[in-house]
Symmetry: C2
Subunit: 350 residues, 2 copies
């Protein structure tokens, strides 16, 4: 069986005021404007993993939100972390859980909060990765870069992966986030792909890798069930699976893919992914009145009238209790408003 | 007695979305952020005219809003125009109404929707004007210009008004809205004042002037009561008191005044009149979070959190059902959104 493990514990603040502590980004319809990202992620992998084979790992306080976004999942398939411990303990726990059900299972691990424009290309790449994983490889998907992005790590692609599977290559190196010049060289060179944190492997292979590189984690989780994990989880190291395992494995395979992947990193993405009018305004929810206004993104409650006159490149997000106005190019700075609200004790809107 | 006649029939659209057809500008707290302009206007003249001597002329459909803003007024002091007919029929009707109560009354006539920063200077000027009016003059207040405004008419000041009353002068001419060069020359020259449409006169003097220059209006309104006016009003000419009477009277007196008068003409005025933070943002109602944002004006429901990041010189107005975002320097263009909404049949937000 192919199990898909969806990491859904993020607490993103960059989509405030739509995202809140109790309703982070993965529960918002930031892709198509209708479907929560987590729900869309589950649907996207349905051809590989049915509801019984989808595991969502999330924060304990997001249990109810997860049930709402993924009502078809068995309760035992929602793993609730008592505290966040980055991706290594998360992947190790999911691997142990799947291993107990199906010793020969293959796992697809990915985040809940990405958007994929070309889902069939994505699923095809996953199928290729699953085949390679069945042969024992730990495989990552490598996204062909469409711009010299400095916010992502890269994968340096090497030779064809041994075994003759078409479309599978060797990762020469995991590359840290580059500066602009290096990012531009990566895009031009064609030998670097974005590391989107999407991994495919056999459960037993990953269990061995964790035992080798994170023996304490393997020990703590061996034979664990949901209740014993609650006590042991806080003691686990707060490290990423990339750093703690992937970069230490002798050889990792990569399947390059060009599927319109977006990490939906800020409100800028809502503009990029949204339907846009003739003046390049992306409007969700609101009934917009636009006069001499271009390249704005508006998100507002259904039916609210929003009039934009003579403004350009703005993000305007209204949630009823809160309103954000920020230039699109500064969308990353939303967290400065969140920090200011936290400092002011405004938990009511966080 | 000094009666004050407040013209409150305006249907301004420049304060949308706060102003609506059923709640135009004069009912909004655009001066101090708390008191509706009409209410503030009544309080301002209280030293001259008590509630029994304040007459409000407004549209019939604004009767209820007027009662709310001016509950202390006797019902007979609210004159309801069945249709708008500009200021000449309005002043003539108010004059006739006052004349029936007190043949020796002096009337102060002004609009409901201005803001006055220095109320004592304003009231002192009115007292001077009342004295001149008691002697038979038709008097206007002339606002000392503080900028070369091209949106107002001007009064060209002549010699001292005969009779030796300090601070009263003769109007040489009513001057049309000037172009920028002329407006600048007016400010520099010191002989021109803004015509704010504030007039003071004895009821019998105005009645004679109306009989002379608008005989049909005088005839229609002579002896009229509120009910007979309803039938006759639609037949009256749609002309201003300035054009139809003031400019034709042989001599009009003027009392110059420097009182921080504002006609509260657009959302720009909310910024000018509002308390501003260290970054020159004027915020009303909202709980604002401001990061690198300057010279904005925000109006939102009490308690709504509004975060402005990296934006400058914007007007942001949220009324719950509608939201406006426009640069302050384009504040006059709000009516383009109103026109677009009207064309789209969006009477629900107009």
């Amino acid at each position: 069986m192919v199990y898909t493990v969806i990491m859904a514990g993020g607490s993103g603040t960059r989509f405030w005021p739509a995202s809140r502590r109790a309703l982070p980004k993965q529960f918002l319809p930031l892709g198509d404007g209708v479907t929560p990202l987590l729900t869309a992620t589950i649907r996207r992998v349905a051809a590989l993993s049915g509801p019984g084979e989808v595991i969502v790992v999330t924060r304990a306080d997001l249990a109810e939100a997860t049930r709402s976004a993924a009502p078809e999942l068995p309760a035992a398939n929602v793993l609730l972390e008592p505290v966040g411990r980055n991706t290594a303990p998360c992947v190790a726990w999911a691997t142990e859980t799947v291993l107990q059900r199906d010793p020969s299972a293959v796992l697809v691990v990915l985040a809940a909060d990405a958007h994929i424009a070309d889902e069939s290309a994505f699923v095809a790449a996953l199928r290729t990765a699953v085949k390679a994983a069945e042969g024992g490889a730990i495989v990552t998907l490598g996204i062909r870069p469409t711009r010299p992005e400095t916010g992502y790590g890269y994968l340096h692609v090497g030779e064809a992966w041994p075994g003759g599977l078409a479309g599978v290559w060797t990762v020469n190196a995991f590359v840290e986030k580059p500066d602009e010049a290096r990012a531009a060289a990566y895009v031009a060179g064609g030998q670097h792909l974005w590391n989107a944190g999407i991994f495919v492997f056999r459960a037993d292979v990953m269990a061995r890798a964790v035992a080798q590189h994170l023996p304490a984690v393997a020990e703590a989780l061996r034979g664990a069930d949901a209740s014993t994990v609650q006590a042991r989880y806080p003691g686990l190291p707060n490290v990423s699976i990339d750093y703690a395992v992937m970069e230490k494995v002798a050889a990792v395979a990569v399947v390059p893919v060009d599927c319109g992947w977006s990490d939906v990193g800020s409100w800028q993405a809502a503009w990029e992914l949204g339907d846009r009018d003739a003046s390049n305004n992306a409007v969700r929810g609101a009934r917009a009145v636009v006069v001499d206004a271009t390249e704005n993104v508006v998100v507002a409650p259904a039916g609210k009238t929003v009039a934009l006159i003579g403004v350009h490149g703005l993000v305007v997000v209204d949630t009823g209790d809160a309103l954000l106005v920020i230039p699109r190019e500064r969308a990353q700075d939303v967290k400065r408003a969140v920090d200011a609200l936290a400092a002011a004790g405004r938990d009511d809107v966080l």
